[in-house]
Symmetry: C2
Subunit: 203 residues, 2 copies
Amino acid sequence: MTGGKEPPMGKIVLDMSMSLDGFITGPEDDESNGLGVDGERLHAWLAEGNDDPQTYRPSGPSGDIFDELMATGAVLVGRRTFDIAGRWNGDHHDGVPIFVPTHRPPADNPFERVHYVTEGIAECVRQAKAAAGDRDVMLHGAYTAQEALKAGVLDGIELQLRPVLLGQGRRLFDGLSPEHIELELVRTLEAQGTLHLRYDVRH
Amino acid sequence: MTGGKEPPMGKIVLDMSMSLDGFITGPEDDESNGLGVDGERLHAWLAEGNDDPQTYRPSGPSGDIFDELMATGAVLVGRRTFDIAGRWNGDHHDGVPIFVPTHRPPADNPFERVHYVTEGIAECVRQAKAAAGDRDVMLHGAYTAQEALKAGVLDGIELQLRPVLLGQGRRLFDGLSPEHIELELVRTLEAQGTLHLRYDVRH
């Protein structure tokens, strides 16, 4: 770089499927049932109009959202979500690096592209953004999203708002401080059974 | 009625302004501050583009929603919300009747159009619908909405989804049972600072 200009940098965007009452799992979610009782239905939008068992890609507008998510250059995921998902066998999509903020990294990490970061959420976000370059970073996990919001390092929120009241489960937005976090709705996309909402977080 | 046909009947529709994290008040809401700390901002959509201090009607798409709400033929409101709102001096809009489900009606009720119903939420809904005729009934109040949902007597939900995370306060959807309540998104309307979402409740 000789021009003194910073290279363009992507954003870090929370990506979650949420019920209208704010849940991202059903009740009793644990390692044997990561999405809780009947929670898998939140993710059913991935199968809409999809006749190809080899891919998760849904048809219609949801397919565009799916493509966008799959174009991210890194994944930042909470330790709990990561472990429950079987660590995706070390590859979430296309071999992009995966960053996991944690206080207790495992003694053994067999996955070259998986990075445990112990210096806190802000540093974890910094490393993930640096690795993604000009592409966005996908963030997964409710607790980790809350930590990123509290630290002021989350740039955007991509929600798949599902038309159901789950009643019980794990909430996406919980335990935040009473200081309001301002958002801007920048995209609304209606698909069958899912409303895709994109918010920018105002810093 | 000689034709044996039932007269057309309106629906009962929950109407609330909610933050993206599901709150309908800020923290510490009480009689002196019904919307809690900074909670009044949830209702700021009513003032958008409104230069006429004599009316609450906002401009643009929000004005259409406002007109629709003001065309309802009865109001069903939780006792807490009703009292905090100063009982609207007995008239929410256009003198339509107001129904309040309660276990302890006040000894004195100076308002001719206000009806306290002690026979439960389902009976209260029945009376409000009968009074509204072919017009809809507007329902206000989180706890009462939850009771109506649990009893299976709520027909629709009209949300003003506001682009903010309040962090703390009173949740609209809380304490529901784990049996899922199915919804259908039937209208999406984007207005400045507010996303209007209309859901039908599937019975």
